[in-house]
Symmetry: C2
Subunit: 341 residues, 2 copies
């Protein structure tokens, strides 16, 4: 028997398929003995229900999908854990799906919604805003999490939970300026980025301006596009090249902790001392920033709170309750040994 189906089990047990279906779905209307017989046969013949058939037939499914862009981003690790725990706690199933770099997450969502009869969707990472219009096609409640974006007010089943990237970035650069830095280099995304890289750069520029410092294009160091973004290696390489130019500067602010760590190491390898010769700051509040030597001064995003709030809002929407459409969390400036006050 190539593929054991529900019919085979029915035949083996001399019952109808309905009864087998009742057994595997824990329906009440079934004789316990019949059920036992069926379950035994299922085990013996290694029957596994076909999920495609189930999803096709079922009108709805108590499951929430999390769509992550860049699943190996260490920032998402603890967040995914909380999302999962909170979803399971509410007796829903949890599906984690990776979205490819070039893939449109909204399209993936629509497709998955149909395929799995989802009840809700969480977008983690990515840059959903340029597809805001497509969001209209998502019929079920969704929350965009950790991405600071705007959604048109008429899209009613979608919410956003994140920090304010521009403001938090301002907070960091403001702090650095107050510490006396006047020549602060920034490590950020490539020119055509339209996501956190851009927002955090804007915060940097505004802070400089408020401190009467004119921005110097030469201190804006951008990632190379031919490599994975926001990696330690990327941080190391762009910093090394920057150092070779012998620009004058006293501080490097990287828009992610991973970049900051690469920068830190590049600076050390160049024979400079941190923080005596160069101060370094990051963004995100990764564990590794805290545990690096020296600890990296950073803006800590309350990732786990964002995750918990994300799930809370999603379920409010699912249950038809009134709920906030936009929640902005505050980041915390965490001072480490990589900067001097």
């Amino acid at each position: 028997m190539e593929q054991v189906t529900i019919k085979d089990i029915a035949k083996i047990c001399n019952v109808g398929v309905t009864t087998v279906s009742r057994a595997i779905n824990d329906h009440p209307d079934i004789n316990p003995e019949t059920k036992q017989r069926i379950m035994d046969a299922i085990r013996e013949y290694h029957y596994f229900p076909n999920n495609s058939a189930r999803n096709l037939k079922r009108s709805e499914n108590q499951t929430i999908a999390v769509l992550v862009k860049g699943i190996s981003n260490p920032f998402f690790g603890p967040i995914i854990e909380v999302l999962e725990r909170e979803i399971i706690r509410r007796h829903f199933s949890f599906v984690l799906q990776q979205v490819e770099e070039e893939e449109d997450e909204v399209e993936a969502a629509i497709s998955l919604e149909k395929e799995k009869r989802l009840k809700g969707i969480i977008f983690l990472g990515g840059s959903v805003h340029h597809t805001a219009n497509r969001l209209r096609l998502v019929r079920i409640p969704s929350v965009i999490s950790t991405v600071d974006t705007q959604i048109p007010p008429d899209i009613e089943n979608c919410a956003v939970v994140s920090i304010d990237d521009e403001a938090e970035s301002y907070k960091m650069v403001d702090h650095l300026c107050r510490s006396g830095h006047k020549r602060i280099a920034i490590l950020t995304a490539s020119e055509r980025d339209n996501s956190i890289g851009k927002k955090r750069l804007e915060g940097y520029l505004r802070a400089l301006k408020d401190h009467g410092i004119s921005a110097d294009e030469e201190l804006i160091v951008r990632m190379k596009q031919d490599q994975r973004s926001y990696t330690i290696r990327q941080g190391y390489e762009i910093t090394s090249r920057f150092l070779e130019k012998k620009k004058e500067f006293t501080c490097i602010y990287a828009v992610s902790d991973t970049l900051a760590i690469g920068a830190l190491r590049a600076v050390i390898d160049a024979g400079l001392k941190v923080p005596e010769d160069v101060c370094i700051a990051g963004f995100d509040g990764l564990d590794i920033a805290r545990y690096y030597n020296p600890a990296v001064t950073t803006i800590c995003q309350p990732g786990e709170e964002i995750a918990a709030e994300t799930v809370r809002i999603l379920f409010d929407m699912i249950e038809g309750k009134e709920t906030s459409r936009r929640v902005v969390f505050e980041g915390t400036l965490l001072k480490g040994g990589s900067t001097i006050d």
Copy 2:
């Protein structure tokens, strides 16, 4: 119209469903103009084919699934990237699926195989060996990747690609002993672990023995079970507690780089100098080990080669070719500033 189906599109375009199906699946037997008309309607009415229905009907699907246990493990990041690239390069689709900590990966595989009509499966991480018998139920070719395990020789459509954990661990501890260390503490998994933690501990014990050093139970530091394993934080905490005991030792060997980094930081926080007072070594060869300050001496697993070989073997099996059933790669001892020769 709640859910647009293929029938709706057919009706709208005044054609049969077959023709619509032909259009969306790029069948040759269709009038280009008809196709264009259909594609326009699809876009206009936002039709998305239902994947469940497709998978149900399709007898096979050119797709490979990767089942990862512990997807946020940084060791898997670059590996997944290579797996994906290699699979796509062979014109197959790639599906990444997370397996829960308590979930049985083989069962997940069987379920997914039916649901998506997979052509092959890659197991990444986890500890597949205690379910070897269940592996028999997986009808399609599979490769267990990065897990050093044995599979019964009669299971013919399953292969293993990994390093030899015991031998590599031996290599590291042997090196440490040759550097003069006699009191080497090890940071490893909990007692009931039956995976890498155990294998690497065995290598440690054998190396000590070969150097005439008797193992000291007090130098075997185990992870706490109430926390996520192999995290930096875990490494920091168990090391801190260990330091409080004031045991005599000159070196800490952690069975993962993440643990090693936590240990490193704990040692530094305790006012000790690395490597002058304490040497520290890790395992895996993560980027962060290389970029830490000081760089962590570690065994570097050739993750990307393992990934490439995994895909190669899988496709050999799919194509019915003879191929190796077991490939063991060598790790490389990478010396960093965290130890002294």
